[in-house]
Amino acid sequence: MFNDKKIGSLYVAPFVIGFLLFTAFPFVASFVLSLTDAQLQDQLGSANFTGLQNYTEMGRDATFQKSLGVTFFYVFITVPLKLAFALFIAVVLNFKLRAIGFFRTAYYLPSILGGSVAIAIVWRFVFAGDGLINQALEIIGITGVNWLGEPNTAMFSIILLRLWQFGSAMVVFLAGLKAIPEDLYEAADLDGASRVRQFWMITLPLLTPVLFFNFIMQIVQAFQEFNGPYIITGGGPLKSSYLLPLMIYEEGFKYFNLGYSSALSWVLFVIIAVFTAIAFWSQKHWVFYAQDREDKNGGAQK
């Protein structure tokens, strides 16, 4: 009745159809839209082709420039801090401690809850002027801080929300740590290397492939942060937390500028692509793959 080929096609059909419909088509459509003055409420047929006008418009759009600056600041602060923190916790949790399973679960929990709307709402409460943190500060006699009401601290609150979700990066680091052969450390011990030295000379180099992976994932995610600023600060005050994804959303669904909004998404896409490309290009300088060293003929770098 069915030959293997047909059955195979049938099995992959849901993915292929879903991919074409929900990824490939919108991807192409958004690029086409970005070259028009399409408005959300109008018939698409009535949109005019405007070429690169939406893109050149960004050069004059002070809000876009502000948003771009804020986004870069957010990413450049968040990603290194989060990676460092995740690595630190992973190293600690790699020790043979009592109840280690409990701690690993506990530290991973925020990641499961992390991106959700509910947590962002909790975060808003924690950092509010009359929120948990200020209440606690008051108890010990310190005047509260207007976390969400001042541009610098508002951004800080949003960054902290992302840092708090270090669990998934941590788990990947933990897996990477487990994969490092014990005998390397034993040999280093015999040679009298300190723990710190062992970390820098053994752990970190052998962990670079995992670090590379986490770096890419975090960069991609950080550039797309939306829930935090949308729910906690609404992008304010003074647009201090107005990240690019929030601007894309508002241009499209608040101001109905589908064309400009699509153009902004493409700029964000290109930014993420460039950072990813730089990371891939640079990896030959800092990412250590064990099999490269074993390959005596060289040249076959990943």
Binding site: P26, Q41, G149, Q221, S262
Partner: protein
């Protein structure tokens, strides 16, 4: 997949829906979906947004309508307000919009700039009793001579104050602008720093200050024809000064104070809930949403509307809060008109709908609900006040355009945070808002 990618995916999916409908020709085959008839039976589709109680009341009314007209079925499509406009926009773009739609007044400028976007209800004088609506109401639904939409209820922003807090302070509700200004320092002295006589989001303040200026100029603030502000530069300096005074005198919480609670609606803010922010400048149709969240037994009262000496107009934003419109491509416009009349004028329909969408505009409906004792005190007070106040100026819908509103907000916020001087704020309000109006009015 994280929520962020989900959000991005959702954005893309929206594009897709729009695109799919228009590009792949789905629209062609879905035209017949608007409504259907088989064997004499007609099925209408009607969409609306609202809360649970509004859903229940409307579904109940639709059942009664079906009982009255056994050959007509009505399928309700209802959601909350969030996302409703996006959904309707997609449907209209894809020509799959329902026969009867609940719309906002402002949406007429989105979907029917030339009056052709919806069915002209004037054609259905036999089905709808227009004598229950005054001329002003009908004009608010008319574009280019076509009656596009019929108001369900009217709404205006009025001043609602927390009487419990005012009683605690021993002060009376303000009845003039000057007494309102005076309440700031008085509240601070009698109740403490945390108490304010009035509060709201930037969008609420922007409307309040507009009223203050319109009372002076006697003209709408925005002129859609000239795509510009309908006032002088000096007026906008006065606008900025009004904000400065309200903040300086502790009448309205500063931008920093408000932002410290994060991004959330006023009625969900703790100081509103416990009565520290003792007032709101709010749509009468929405006020129950605000009184609902008050903690314990607190009472909200309608304050006398402040008028500038010599003002001939209250400067209210007064317009339909929700309207019914019929799809321009509906197969059954006559039956749709019958349904609208049933919901707005018919005793059975009116009793089923109650005041879930505010106090109805229809005179017949008002009488029925008043006789049944279904109109609450705050609602009745508001209706009475709106009947008394001079309201002749009709504001351009573009005043409420999100881009215009955000323009006002950005400037006031920058001033509030000390980034620009009062002088600069006044100039920016004039220059920047004019530029924005020029851009958004097409």
């Amino acid at each position: 997949m994280s929520n962020l990618t989900l959000t991005a995916a959702r954005l893309h999916r929206r594009n897709l829906l729009l695109g799919a409908a228009a590009l792949t020709g789905l629209s062609a085959c879905s035209k017949s979906q608007t409504s259907s008839s088989n064997g004499g039976a007609i099925t209408l589709r009607m969409s609306w947004w609202g809360g649970t109680s509004a859903h229940k009341a409307t579904l109940n009314a639709l059942q009664l309508f079906e009982k009255r007209h056994p050959h007509i079925r009505v399928r309700g499509e209802y959601t909350g307000f969030t996302g409703h406009l996006e959904r309707l926009t997609t449907q209209i773009a894809g020509e799959t919009a329902p026969d009867v739609m609940q719309i906002n007044w402002y949406w007429q400028t989105l979907f029917s700039r030339d009056g052709e976007g919806f069915t002209d209800l004037n054609q259905y004088k036999n089905e709808i009793d227009f004598s229950q609506f005054d001329a002003r109401t009908l004009s608010m639904g008319t574009t280019a001579g076509k009656l596009n939409a019929l108001a369900i209820s009217n709404a205006a922003r009025l001043m609602y104050l927390n009487k419990t807090t005012y009683d605690k302070s021993g002060l009376s509700l303000p009845d003039t602008w000057d007494s309102l200004f005076a309440r700031g320092p008085q509240f601070k002295a009698k109740l403490g720093d945390a108490y304010y006589p009035l509060d709201g989001l930037f969008q609420d303040f922007i409307a309040l200050a507009r009223s203050y200026i319109v009372q002076k100029t006697g003209k709408a603030l925005v002129n859609s024809e000239t795509k510009s502000l309908n006032c002088t530069r000096a007026d906008m300096h006065e606008y900025a000064g009004f904000y400065a005074k309200m903040i300086r005198d502790h009448v309205w919480p500063s931008a920093q104070v408000r932002a410290s609670y994060g991004y959330l609606p006023q009625q969900e803010m703790r100081p509103w809930i416990n009565g520290e922010f003792a007032g709101t400048y709010q749509w009468n149709s929405a006020i129950e949403k605000y009184t609902d969240t008050l903690a314990g037994k607190q009472e909200v009262a309608l304050a006398p509307y402040p008028m500038r000496p010599g003002a001939t107009d209250a400067g209210l934003l007064y317009r339909p809060s929700m309207m019914f419109a019929v799809n321009a491509k509906s197969q059954h416009p006559r039956e749709s008109a019958m349904l609208i009349n049933f919901l707005l004028n018919d005793p059975e329909g009116v009793r089923a709908m109650e005041t879930k969408r505010g106090v109805p505009v229809s005179k017949a409906a008002q009488k029925i609900l008043r006789d049944d004792g279904l109109i609450g005190k705050l609602q009745q007070d508001s209706e009475d006040m709106l009947a008394r106040l001079p309201i002749n100026v009709l504001e351009s819908p573009y005043f409420e355009h999100p881009r215009v509103r955000d323009g006002f907000q950005d400037i006031l916020e920058a001033f509030g945070y000390g980034k620009i001087t009062l002088e600069q704020a006044g100039d920016a309000l004039y220059d920047d808002i004019n530029a924005i109006l020029h851009r958004v009015i097409r």
